[in-house]
Subunit: 255 residues, 2 copies
């Protein structure tokens, strides 16, 4: 998509971004990583770099516990020049026009952002399937509650959100291939990630559910084949799913 006019110092191609996120999980940072990769941005995944180079986790924690003017509440956050930007949907709203991954008009960018915020709500609910009581407790210490919450998630919430996103594509008057307008946006990358994550966490439930969302699955498949995304997924930069992230596989929750 066409970029809006921007100051040279924040133009996607020239800027070297610094992403700050937990170094061992995909988590909420992955939605930003996918946009940076597809946008061909130069970026450093700071917390995954060596401490000896002045980066790594200490660099992230310094920023989180510092006294800078725009203190983030939690990772992920992005440094773009002097600006520090937190909240993954907010980072994507910022990056979208700079990386050619958002509509060029304000109303289109507002709509794209609205969808990303709904994806963020969905992600929170996915997280709470295994942590319905407290993030500070282990899964094993909230397992009965997780079983109840996951059952509700798979019976009602999964269908409510995926059904909505499927309907958004079907109502897109510019294309039946993308969520917004006639070209790829960061929301399409996030839909890819949601389908990947759900397949990892709930393989049995997804096997049954996928036939109801042909447009989402088709979008997922097309995103996976985009050259930059395919290269990224095959690289060491793409962390595997695991039992510390948002999407987790516990067989008993996938009933």
């Amino acid at each position: 998509m066409a970029s809006m006019s921007l100051n040279q110092d924040t133009k996607g191609a020239r800027m070297r971004y610094e992403l700050f996120y937990w170094p061992t999980i995909q988590g909420r940072g992955e939605f930003v990583r996918l946009a940076l990769e597809e946008g061909g941005a130069k970026y450093i995944d700071v917390a995954r770099r060596a401490e000896s180079s002045g980066m790594g986790m200490p660099a992230m924690l310094r920023l989180m516990h510092g006294d800078g003017p725009h203190l983030p509440f939690a990772p992920p956050f992005l440094k773009a020049g002097d600006q520090v930007i937190g909240q993954s949907a907010n980072i994507l709203y910022f990056l979208g026009p700079r990386l050619g991954l958002a509509p060029s008009n304000e109303a289109g960018r507002t709509w794209t952002h609205q969808l990303q915020l709904t994806i963020a709500d969905f992600i929170d609910e996915v997280h709470d399937t295994h942590h319905p009581i407290a993030s500070s407790l282990y899964y094993k210490d909230q397992k009965p509650e997780a079983l109840r919450r996951s059952a509700d998630f798979l019976q009602t919430r999964l269908q409510k959100f995926l059904g909505y996103f499927e309907r958004v594509i079907s109502l897109n008057s510019s294309s039946d291939k993308f969520m917004v307008g006639a070209e790829l946006s960061y929301v399409d990358l996030s839909i890819f990630q949601i389908i990947e994550g759900l397949r990892y966490a709930f393989p049995k439930a997804m096997k049954k559910a996928e036939a109801n969302y042909p447009r989402l699955i088709d979008l997922h498949d097309r995103v996976a084949k985009r050259p930059r995304i395919a290269r990224y997924l095959a690289s060491a930069r793409r962390l595997p799913f695991n039992k510390q992230g948002i999407f987790r596989h516990y067989k008993e929750l996938d009933a």
Copy 2:
């Protein structure tokens, strides 16, 4: 704060906004109502108007289940001319510059939005104190889980979020009176609402906690006294807190 230049047809003073939200609760819609009120906007709270006038709940449900181009996932959503905008933080990002309730530069608006998204995360956690298992179930059907979740909320999460917001004011280099910059923004109105809601839901816990957040309490008190807010709070337009909203008082959860 100074408005950015905008098309005449969406200028705050000329535009008549239509807010769509559940008619009997403050909920997430209240963050939008407070901004519309403080900004002196002309607006209609559609679902609270009479069905006989073509409004009321049927008008809201028509839009939610319609096939318009920017279908919202859930209330609140705002109609501004032909544009329909969903997600409360997104609505406030849109309204902020139009109502003089956001910084005039892009970086300032991004920071203001980041804080509002963190408030939205906090609100989700407040909601889940009484509904940790499923929104579709009654409180009484998830009471043991609610007791556990509320205990963690009061022991760890409340302090984490309020401590962060208190720190944001203390790090604001332009003022020690506001969250962002040197003038009132919509985030300040949301902080007011959070303190009001917490006092209603958790009076015992808040009585103990408030001394730790003098800047937030001072901000709350100053917002309450602003002429437009004071008039709004005294009017029938301000719904009372109750046991259907996000902030709910159950004595047993306020341990």
